[in-house]
C-alpha cells in the first residue's frame, strides 16, 4: 500500500468512539461494546480468548461491601434461547476487588466499570466512596435490579422513589460517572428511567434479567433453590429492545442497551433504538470472544453502510 492510500484507508476507518455523559464525568469509550456485569468475571479470565482492548469497557461482577457466598446450587438452568440464573451475587467484596483484581485489570487499555450492589442506600454510598479513589475504576454501575437477593435489589429497581434515593446517595459521594442499571420487571420503564435521570445519574443501562422460573417435573421442584431466577440471553432481546427504545425516548442522558445481544446485528438494533452503547452478557458464555466479534461486526457494518461515526447510528431509525 502506498502512503497516501494508507492514509486514506485510515481516514475511512469508521470511528467507533463514543462519549457517555458530559464534563468531568464523561465516560470516553473507544468502542460502544462493553461486557455485562456477572458474565465476564473480573475481565482477566477472558484475556486468553480475546483482546480486551477491543472493548469500550468491562463491567465487573457485582460488588458488595463484604464478600458474599451466593446461593446454594443449582444456580443456573437453561431455558429456550435463554438461561435462568440465581447466583446470588457471590463476589469477593469491594476491598479484595480493589486490592487484588484491579491492579491486574489496570494493565489493559480498556475502561473498567464497577457494578455495585447494597442492601441499603447507605451501603451503596459506602461502596461508591471506597471506589471513588480507586485508580482504574472509570465508572460505577448501580445495580438496583438484581432479582437474586432477598434484601434490597429488586425493591430499589421497581420503585422510582427508592431508585432515586439510591442514585442520590451514590451521586453525593462520587465524582465518577454513575450509570444506573434498570430492572425490566416494571410496568413502565420510562418512569424508572426518568426517576434516576432526575436523581443525577449520568447514564442508564438496561435491561437486567427478567424474573422467571423453571420446574423439574420429575423431582416436582423448582430447578433453582431460590425458586425464581433471572432470565437472560437471546430470548429476552425483543423485550430489552423495546425498553431501551422507550427509555431513550424520554431521557436526555445516554442509554446503554443490554439483553440477548449475541451478534453485531443484535447490537446495531439496540444502537438504532437509541442506545449509545451496548453490553454483551450471556453471549460471553457461548463464545468467550463474543464481545470482540460484536465490536468487529459493528465496525464492518459501519464501513459497509458508509457510516463515519458510531454516533450517527444512535437512535437513527428512519
Amino acid at each position: 500500500m502506498k502512503k497516501t492510500e494508507k492514509a486514506k484507508a485510515i481516514a475511512k476507518k469508521p470511528s467507533t468512539g463514543i462519549v457517555l455523559g458530559k464534563g468531568s464525568r464523561a465516560l470516553r469509550l473507544s468502542s460502544p461494546v462493553m461486557t455485562a456485569s456477572g458474565t465476564f468475571g473480573y475481565g482477566l479470565e477472558f484475556s486468553p480468548y480475546m483482546k480486551l482492548e477491543k472493548l469500550g469497557a468491562i463491567c465487573v461482577k457485582g460488588l458488595s461491601l463484604r464478600p458474599r457466598e451466593g446461593n446454594p446450587p443449582p444456580r443456573t438452568v437453561e431455558t429456550p434461547c435463554g438461561m435462568l440464573n440465581a447466583i446470588g451475587l457471590q463476589n469477593v467484596g469491594v476491598d479484595v476487588f480493589i486490592d487484588s483484581k484491579l491492579p491486574k485489570l489496570r494493565k489493559y487499555k480498556t475502561k473498567v466499570i464497577a457494578n455495585i450492589f447494597g442492601e441499603t442506600a447507605s451501603e451503596y454510598a459506602e461502596l461508591a466512596k471506597r471506589l471513588d479513589d480507586a485508580k482504574g475504576v472509570h465508572a460505577l454501575e448501580i445495580n438496583i435490579s438484581c432479582p437474586n437477593v432477598k434484601k434490597g435489589g429488586m425493591a430499589f429497581g421497581t420503585d422510582p422513589k427508592e431508585a432515586a434515593r439510591v442514585v442520590r446517595a451514590v451521586r453525593a459521594v462520587t465524582g465518577k460517572h454513575v450509570m444506573t442499571k434498570l430492572s425490566p420487571n416494571v410496568t413502565d420503564i420510562r418512569v424508572m428511567a426518568r426517576a434516576v435521570e432526575d436523581a443525577g445519574s449520568d447514564s442508564i443501562s438496561l435491561i437486567n434479567t427478567l424474573t422467571g422460573m423453571a420446574i423439574d417435573i420429575n423431582k416436582r421442584r423448582p430447578v433453582l433453590t431460590t425458586k425464581i431466577g433471572g432470565l437472560s440471553g437471546p430470548a429476552i432481546k425483543p423485550v430489552a429492545l423495546r425498553m431501551v427504545w422507550e427509555a431513550a425516548g424520554v431521557v436526555k442522558i445516554p442509554v446503554v442497551g443490554i439483553g440477548g445481544i449475541v451478534t453485531a446485528e443484535d447490537a446495531i438494533e439496540f444502537l438504532l433504538a437509541g442506545a449509545s452503547a451496548v453490553q454483551v452478557g450471556t453471549a460471553n458464555f457461548l463464545t468467550p470472544n463474543a464481545s470482540e466479534k460484536v465490536a468487529d461486526g459493528i465496525a464492518a457494518y459501519m464501513k459497509k453502510h458508509n457510516i463515519g461515526s458510531v454516533r450517527k447510528l444512535v437512535g437513527a431509525l428512519n
Binding site: 446454594p72 443456573t76 434461547c81 447466583i87 457471590q90 469477593v92 440471553g233 437471546p234
Partner: protein, 266 residues
Amino acid sequence: MKEAIIIENKALGADYFLISLKWALAPKVRPGQFVMLRVTGSMDPLLRRPFSVYNTDGDTVELLYKVVGKGTTILSSLNPGDDVDLLGPLGKGFSIPGGMLGKSRLLMVAGGVGIAPFYHLGRSIKDSDCDNLLIYGARTKRDTVVVKPFKDIGVKIKIATEDGSRGTKGLVTGLLESEMHCGDIVYACGPSLMLKAVAEMAEDKGVRCLVSLERAMACGIGVCLGCALRTVSHRPGRVLKDDRTYQMVCSDGPVFDSRDVDWDKI
C-alpha cells in the same frame, strides 16, 4: 473455542456414542479435563455442553457420550466432516497426589458414562509399575460399551451390572468393598450418589479418593459462578460462612479430593 471437525461419530449401542474430532488443541488435554462443546449454531439449545475427554491421539480428541436430551441428540445426528465448536481443555483434571505415582495402586471407579475420563487416564498410567484396576458399574450388559478398549491398553477391569447380566450383580460399591485396600488411590466418576458412597467407603478405610463431579454449567471457565459446589475445604480466594465454601466445579474441579466435598449438600 477452536473449531473441530468430526472424523467419526459412532453409535456404540444403549444410547452411547464415541465421537472423534480433529482438534488443534487435542495434545494439550490432561486426563480428567473436559471440553465444552457447542452442538449447533442455533440458539436452542443455547449453552455449550460439557464432556470429559475420553482419549487424545495427536490432533484427535475422542469423547464418549450418552444421549440424554436435546444437546446430545443433536450431537448424535452429526456426521463426519461437520464441524463443532470446542472450548477447552478445561478444569484441572486428575492429579496424582504428590509422590504417590508408582507407589500406590490406582483404583478407578466408574458408573455409567462416568467411565469416560478413565481411558485417557488409563493410557497415561499404563507404564506405571502398579497393578491398577478399573471397576466399572453399569445397569446392564448392554451399557458396558467400552470394556475392550481398556483391556487393549492393559487396564485390569472388573464389572458390576445392576441386573447381573455381566460381571458381578449389584452396584460398584459391592465390588469395591473387597477391592479397596489401604494405600490405594481411588479415582471415581459417576452419579453423585455413587460418588458419595465411594467417598464414604474410602474415608472409612483411610484411602485417598478423588472424585470427578458434574454440575449444570453455563460458561465452563469460572466466570458465571453457576456450577458452585459446597466444600468443606478452605482454599484461598473463596468466600466462607459456617466454615464452608463454594468452589466452582468447572475451574476448581471437576476433580475434587473427596474429603473436601460437602456430601450432605451434594
